[in-house]
Amino acid sequence: MKLKDLIAPFSVWKRATEKPYTAMKPLSERPGADRYRGFHINDQEKCIGCGSCEAICQNGAIDMVEVAGVETTLTDSGLRPRIDYGRCCWCALCVDICTTDSLAMSNEYVWIDEDPEVFRFIAGAEGKPWDNSEKGYRRSGGYSLLDPERVPMILEDPKKGVTSFIEMVKGYSADAARQEARRCVDCGLCIASCPAHMDIPDYIRAIRDDDLEEAVKILYRTNPMPATCGRICTRNCESACAIGVKGDPVAIRWLKRYIIDAVDPSDITAALGKEFSDSGKTVAVIGAGPGGLSCAYYLARMGHHVTVFESSKKAGGMIRYGVPEYRMPYDRLDDEIAHITEQGVTITYGVTIGVDKSLDELAASFDAVFISTGLPDASSLRLTGEDLPGVLSGVEFLERVARGETITLGRTVAVIGGGNVAIDAARTARRFGAETTIYYRRREEDMPADWEEIHDAKLEGVEIITQSIPIQLEKAARGKTGLVWGRARMEDQGPGKRPRPVLIVGETYTAEVDTVISAIGQTADLSYIAESKTASVGIDGNKVLADYHGRTENVKIFAGGDVVNSIGDAIAAIADGYRAARSIDAYVLTGKGKT
């Protein structure tokens, strides 16, 4: 032992005069660091109740519960996370996965109680002292667990596409579809927005698991025309998608299309099976559009004998005659209709109710009748000069193209309107080589047409003039038609309302074009109902009055599709058809109608 070993330890006494380490104030006042993972905060306004936090919590600490003052809407489940601090480990995975970035953590950390039952709270809704904390853990910019970007869709080269009617959207490959399907967080918020309430997360899961047979079964549970909806659906679901809050919504429509394109039509029949009972009941369906076909399909699978009366030569309704072939190839539609007729549905073509057969006759010879005649006629522009020879309606134009008629449009075309029909007409006109311009009253973001359609139309060289109100149509030189239009400004209508276009006095222009196509809406001719003596039902303008279940005031008559609902798209008609099929089934089996 050295002397140093005895002395050296005492040398540290020199520290005795220094400031002690101890913090003299009560330390409970020390705030957590800026990033501290303290107690949860949740912005109740931003939160949409998707439940991803519950799904990722490995501690089972989160419950989704109802909160007073939060309504359930199509984009908000109305549920909010309640966190059990008897489970939480403050790992902040819930914050990382949050689809809206509403969930975060404060830097507060002191919560003491004598009662073990109190440590459960709905973050952000119980007025905790830390609710408005600015500090605490937030997901950092360089780190995320969710993929905000959609797998890009392969499109036909617009320069090439504009010369023919080949399908523009090529569809996902299996890899791309699985990759896109992985973006889904399985929350199911989208289901409510779909009129047919398709089980979207489940079929997306089936894609992920590569189980297409299961996916097909899920599709046909609510929708007998998935190939159609996979292409032309208005996809309200995607606007409710939780991923869409911060990034691109999951491409639900393209995923649906992938399933049905990847499966051979014969495999669909095999997957669904064909065994069903025979009830011996007969049902007439008027109109072979999506609503009629959907109703017929489900009725047939419920065991009833269905006859569809269609005035045209082919089935499909607006999907065939209103949607151009480059969006909805006819052979895919034919496959889909073939699958429906395989279920035992008879379609009688070229029979117009009210002309060849009356509604009364049908009501007398069938156990029930389903009306789904849609809105086949174009609405009037109500402008002078509408009857000029160079003016035609979008519906008429598209229908004639679909029938294969030859149409001379000339070199320049003006399309009036901003809906899907307007875009379809404009892009079809481009395929006839015409320089096409769309005139729309409001701004581009107000256009009811699908944003991807608008985008693709522009790629194909369609020009869009927004905030332009047509004033009148007049005859112009060299057989042209003059479209007189005025510039509009947008007038604010208060919060939550769409701004209204108002004509700016004095700013008028005239466009001289070869053809004017008006596409501002559609209407129906319901005289065959009004003429009926025994089977008449309530009518309001161009709409048939029917309830949610497709039941009209006449116990035997049911109705659905565009002729009933105000949404006016294919999926709404399909949903109407399905619900009406259930009502009809209940009626023909029990003889009881609306209670």
């Binding site: 070993d5 490995q58 992985r182």
Partner: protein, 390 residues
């Protein structure tokens, strides 16, 4: 000074082992722990003494068994990273790294360079933090009360830095599969340097107060000698092995993260007893401080910190198996991961160095030591029971 191993072997040994007849009155059986300040963590030692000499020792573990490996099997891949850091409380980052690296390897994820630097930084910071706590414990086990006070106070300054960086004091949960969770906060380098200087200062005091302390020397020298031929037989790793002159350090031998870009040499000594092991770890603390400075000098200014894995709620990892290891304060710490291609791991095995150090090695080294030195011996092996039972 006579090392303990020179004492006569007692009790008598036969081919079947020690002859210990508790009824003979020569022996006393004592339970040390789990509720005992002299054991590290929550474990217990079943000690048989004769006089004050330990003649037999059995380690009992399992008091902290939470079935991590079982729980991981029923959690998604992402859900386990908050779980694994709980396996070793004083040094959670090694666990976070091991788990994340194993998952990344099977998933085929290459982490960005900056994330690798940040990971190395946290690993070295946690090494220093863990050693500070251990050094306090080592001094405390020999009855020196002042040094734990210093060490834990300075460890707390390190925890402040961790809190600032990761948002957590003890459980950092900073290393996630794919990278790290956040960049360095503004001004972090300066505050880190301040703390490092404080630690250097206190370490110079510790050097005087501990290594030149007659009490410590007297008790630690010759205690629990690990000879070179024991190393592989017992599976001894880390500072325990390096103190015996075996220059094995995974950071050097099989460099991971960015250790190949840092300059350092494994610390070794040539006689592994409690005193030398303490000294080796003390030098490794100095080395850690140096490494942290090297990292802070070399860390890229800009760059991605995280690669997004596929949606973690249904992240399936291709079937396969791997074993990823890292040099923790105690030595080789590894994660053996088996994936069967589903969203849940088939098996995760956590290999902690204490598994051998605290069981077979301690049981061997404790023989013929003085009962009063047992805590000192145990701490000098640097063991954490949760690694054993997980």
């Amino acid at each position: 000074m006579k090392p303990y191993s020179d004492r006569g072997k007692f009790p008598e040994r036969t081919e079947n082992g020690n002859v210990i007849d508790l009824d003979s009155g020569k022996f006393v059986k004592l339970w040390q722990g789990p509720q005992h300040p002299g054991v590290t963590g929550n474990m217990s030692l079943e000690v048989i003494i004769s006089g004050d000499e330990v003649v037999d020792l059995t380690t009992h573990v399992g008091y902290l068994h939470r079935a991590f490996e079982k729980l991981i099997e029923r959690r998604l891949y992402i859900q386990s990273f908050p779980l694994v850091c709980r396996i070793c409380v004083p040094e959670p980052d090694t666990n976070e790294y091991g788990y994340a690296a194993a998952v990344e390897e099977l998933a085929g994820i290459q982490i960005p360079e900056k994330a690798a630097w940040l990971r190395t930084l946290t690993l070295e910071m946690s090494r220093l933090t863990s050693f500070l706590m251990w050094l306090g414990g080592q001094a405390g086990a020999f009855g020196l009360g002042t040094i734990p006070q210093w060490c834990l106070a300075h460890r707390d300054y390190m925890l402040d830095l961790f809190e600032e960086l990761s948002g957590g004091r003890v459980y950092h949960m900073y290393i996630v599969p794919g990278g790290v969770r956040d960049d360095l906060p503004r001004g972090f380098a300066r505050r880190l340097e301040d703390v490092l200087q404080k630690i250097e200062q206190v370490m110079s005091d510790i050097e005087l107060a501990l290594f030149s302390n007659a009490v410590f020397k007297r008790r630690a020298v010759g205690l629990g000698i690990i000879t070179r031929d024991m190393i592989d037989e017992y599976g001894i790793v880390g500072p325990n092995a390096r103190a015996a002159g075996i220059a094995r350090d995974l950071r050097k031998d099989q460099p991971y993260l960015i250790y190949d870009k840092l300059s350092f040499e494994p610390v070794t000594a040539d006689f592994s007893d409690a005193y030398t092991r303490t000294l080796v770890r003390y030098r490794e603390m100095e080395q850690s401080i140096d490494l942290i400075r090297q990292i802070m000098a070399g860390i890229p200014e800009k760059g991605a910190i995280h690669v997004r894995p596929p949606n973690v709620l249904h992240w399936k990892i291709p079937a396969g198996e791997t074993y990823v290891k890292a040099e923790s304060t105690r030595g080789e710490y590894g994660y053996y991961l088996v994936s069967d291609g589903t969203a849940y791991p088939r098996r995760v095995h956590v290999r902690g160095p204490s598994y051998t150090h605290a069981v077979v090695l301690l049981e061997h080294l404790a023989l013929n030591t003085n009962i009063a030195d047992l805590p000192g011996l145990m701490v000098s092996l640097h063991t954490y029971p949760p690694e054993i039972e997980r």
